[in-house]
């Protein structure tokens, strides 16, 4: 009866060039590797051709960063802050353009790019701009020094936000950077490069090198890089940890997760259901801290599942550019294959699979929101990170059992606790081995709050005062 008419955001606000070069020493230059195409995962349409950086290109970028480090690190913090504030303001001014480009290249709903990603990106730059002239008060000595050149490799799930998490603190502390965006989502990083020029950032302070895994390896392994920051899979994180071991490079790794979202029988049910949905279906579940394991107190499991199914039936899957879309496209064919594979394994292992009735578009990479019930701790869908819109539901009887099951994973990035009892939240938070514990909410981010993992979820913290340590010689 009340069907929402299509409400597409206009893509005219962004001007996508047919091809992009590398951003080195303040200039866009050709790469010497074989260029590759980046596509819109919602339509499989090629958006642009992007240069691939070879080892030699990466070397040029690192040299440019090294040269700029002299100027940038010697500049008073209050001056560096001006650049960062300027970048933050330009991001706000151009946020619509950036949001549209992010959605086209990544497949996430425009609503999320517009209302979550972009405000957080600007907030990160504003926040770390504020630190640039106050580093002496951060608790790392009266005059902490930067490290030098930071080599940064970021994932495809939040392309611009992960760039902000990496670049803002690095620059505030006086480092210069060589950043490699993900192969499938390079476009917003390249638009950010343009913003650096618009802000008159000194050449070489920020360098963007696009490419695949080899380019990333070249950045990480470059001998003149002083600091390596990586966000991505645990598998690649392990490789990086191994390759930089003994090199003297400082490393932070933000890797996978298999977070438990724990719902007690006294929780505010309607809001808990919203939290479960936000926890696993936000950004198609392409979130390292996603609440992919739902632990429900057995006494309310049936009732909660019914509410959850009713809610999932209302999710709107489809064109990411439509302002009313809740679930967009899976980022790549490769990722879709992985989500499918793990879901099939879940079914084969005996868990019950459920998705609401929804029509998937014919072109592009799509996966319906999916819930598995009857899941046991021993099932792979309860162990492995799916990194897709797939929720595994388990039950528990007592708070102690909830903690035991939540912690019984090689990961430890985040957790959620839903209860109206404040004392129980604190009791749980004390015992959960996870970098972030959300209480009666999930997937809330703030630049002032440190973020990072236990165990195989990585080491080091990003965000907040703690996030400065990773970029200071302390």
């Amino acid at each position: 009866m009340f069907e929402y008419a299509p409400a597409p955001e206009s893509r005219d606000v962004v001007d996508i060039k047919p091809s992009y070069g590398l951003f080195i020493d303040g200039e866009f230059v050709d790469g010497t590797g074989a260029p590759f195409k980046t596509i819109n995962p919602a339509t499989e349409e090629a958006l642009a051709e992007v240069a691939a950086a070879s080892q030699a290109d990466v070397d040029r970028a690192v040299q440019a960063a090294r040269k700029a480090f002299g100027v940038w690190s010697a500049m008073p913090g209050s001056e560096r802050a001006k650049y960062l504030f300027r970048i933050a303001r330009i991001i706000q001014e151009r946020s619509r353009e950036l949001a549209v480009l992010e959605t086209l290249d990544n497949g996430k709903p425009i609503r999320e790019a517009r209302d979550v990603d972009l405000p957080l990106v600007a907030a990160h730059f504003f926040y770390y701009a504020g630190w640039a002239d106050k580093l002496g008060y951060a608790g790392y000595g009266p005059d902490p020094k930067p490290l030098g050149v930071a080599g940064q490799v970021i994932p495809w799930n939040f392309p611009l936000l992960m760039l902000a998490w990496k670049i803002a603190p690095a620059l505030a502390c006086g480092n210069t950077v060589v950043l490699k965006p993900a192969e499938t989502t390079p476009l917003t990083a390249l638009l950010f490069a343009e913003i650096c020029r618009q802000a008159d950032l000194p050449p070489g302070v920020v360098n963007i090198v696009t490419g695949a895994g080899e380019t990333g390896a070249a950045v990480v392994n470059h001998p003149d890089v002083n600091k390596v920051a990586f966000t991505g899979s645990t598998e690649v994180g392990r490789l990086i940890a191994r390759s930089v071991a003994g090199s003297g490079k400082k490393v932070t790794l933000e890797l996978g997760g298999k977070a438990a979202n724990i719902v007690f029988d006294d929780a505010a049910i309607d809001q808990a259901v919203e939290g479960i949905v936000d926890g696993i279906f936000f950004n198609q579940g392409h979130v390292c801290c996603a609440g992919s394991r739902l632990l429900v107190q057995e006494s309310i499991a049936e009732e909660l599942l019914e509410s959850l199914k009713r809610r999932l039936a209302r999710l709107r899957l489809g064109d990411p550019m439509d302002k009313n879309t809740d679930i967009g496209a899976i980022n790549s064919a490769e990722q879709l294959a992985r989500v499918r594979e793990l879901s099939d394994i879940g079914e084969a292992e005996g868990a019950e699979r459920w998705s609401p009735a929804c029509t998937l578009p014919e072109r592009g990479f799509w996966f319906p929101p999916t819930v598995f019930t009857g899941v046991a701790q021993s099932h792979r869908i309860a162990r492995d990170e799916v990194f897709g819109p797939v929720l595994a539901m388990l039950t528990f009887r007592t708070p102690a059992e909830a903690v035991e099951k939540a912690n019984n994973t090689p990961y430890g990035l985040s957790a959620g606790v839903w209860t109206e009892k404040g004392s129980r939240i604190l009791w749980m938070a004390d015992r959960l081995r996870a970098g972030v514990v959300w209480a009666n909410t999930f997937n809330k981010f703030d630049p002032t709050s440190p973020f990072g993992g236990y165990k195989e979820s990585g080491y080091g913290r990003e965000g907040g005062r703690h996030g400065l340590e990773a970029y200071l010689d302390v």
Binding site: M1, A268, D270, E274
Partner: protein, 312 residues
């Protein structure tokens, strides 16, 4: 919630235990959900449909000390034919007046199909004896009111005397006879979302046909989160008892945008079963002209000036 609810109000203690046993409402989460639904973009054909539906849901209201026969007649004329220049505009659901003006409204609307609702029970404060409230209701019913908008005793509710509130609603419902009963919770005075949920259930258990947010005399009135919580309550009540109850946000809904946000809330919380004037109303005095203006803009592509819409 699967237990039969018949005995819930057998004593103050059982009623209290039941209401306090309802799941809590997390304010941050409820606000966030309502805000997110407020971002839905309703355009073109969907907007045109929504505007007509919203017009059909309006309870056109005047509740002033200065209300006169002339004012009420003018409003009734508008309710039956909102836009004299366009006969395709649907009529509104009802007019809402004070009890002493009901007879006049009934006469003015005779045969138009627009219902007459009357506030009653010492509106808006509800501070009087049960006898007076029942008499107030009987006055309106006798004058021909189709619907009674009563207020609950917020003082008794906040003092924890749920049984008193319950019994009052039961008594007013009995006095209503054939008339439909809308129970005004005055959520702005109940303050917490937990209270809104409890008062919603209380009103439904006592036999209310509709639950209504506010009198319009207290701020905040019909906010999105409060309406969301009341919609969740009618949804859960239907599942528990099989009885369907309507919802009426009232107070502070002034623009087409506000009204469409309400419809989105209904659509995504309880579904199309409530997208009907029988089950969802918008209590408002100034909303109608904005709906008419937007409707004409949809049809002609241009905004007409305010002088092209009648002020009544």
């Amino acid at each position: 919630m699967t237990t039969p609810l018949a005995d819930v109000a057998s004593s103050g203690a059982t009623l209290r235990a039941f209401l306090h046993g309802l799941p809590g409402v997390d304010r941050v989460g409820a606000d966030q959900r309502a805000k997110m639904l407020g971002t839905r973009s309703i355009k073109t054909t969907a907007k045109a449909e929504a505007i007509d539906l919203a017009i059909r849901m309006v309870d056109l209201t005047t509740l002033e000390g200065a209300d006169t026969p002339g004012k009420v007649r003018a409003m009734c004329a508008k309710a039956a034919h909102p836009d004299p220049s366009d006969p395709s505009v649907p009529k509104v659901a009802a007019v809402c007046v004070y009890p002493d003006l009901v007879g006049l409204a009934v006469e003015a609307l005779g045969g138009s199909g627009v219902k007459v609702a009357s506030v009653a029970t010492a509106f808006p404060s509800g501070r009087s004896s049960l006898e007076v409230k029942v008499a107030d209701t009987a006055l309106a019913v006798a004058a021909g009111a189709d619907e009674i908008d009563m207020v609950i005793d917020r003082g008794a509710f906040l003092a924890g005397d749920y049984l008193k509130v319950y019994e009052e609603i039961v008594a007013i419902k009995a006095a209503c006879g054939e008339a439909h009963l809308k129970v005004i919770l005055e959520t702005g005075e109940l303050a917490t979302y937990d209270n809104v949920r409890r008062a919603s259930w209380l009103a439904m258990l006592a036999g209310g046909d509709f639950i209504k947010t506010s009198t319009g005399k207290v701020q905040p009135a019909a906010t999105l989160p409060v309406t969301l919580i009341m919609l969740e309550a009618v949804r859960d009540f239907l599942a528990a008892t099989g009885r369907k109850v309507g919802v009426k946000p009232a107070g502070g809904i002034r623009t087409t945008k506000d009204a469409i946000k309400m419809l989105v809330l209904v659509n995504e919380t309880v579904g199309e079963g409530w997208l009907d004037p029988d089950w969802f109303r918008l209590g408002a005095s100034t909303l109608l002209n904005d709906l008419l203006m937007q409707r004409q803009k949809m049809a002609t592509g241009r905004y007409a000036g305010p002088d092209y819409f009648t002020l009544d």
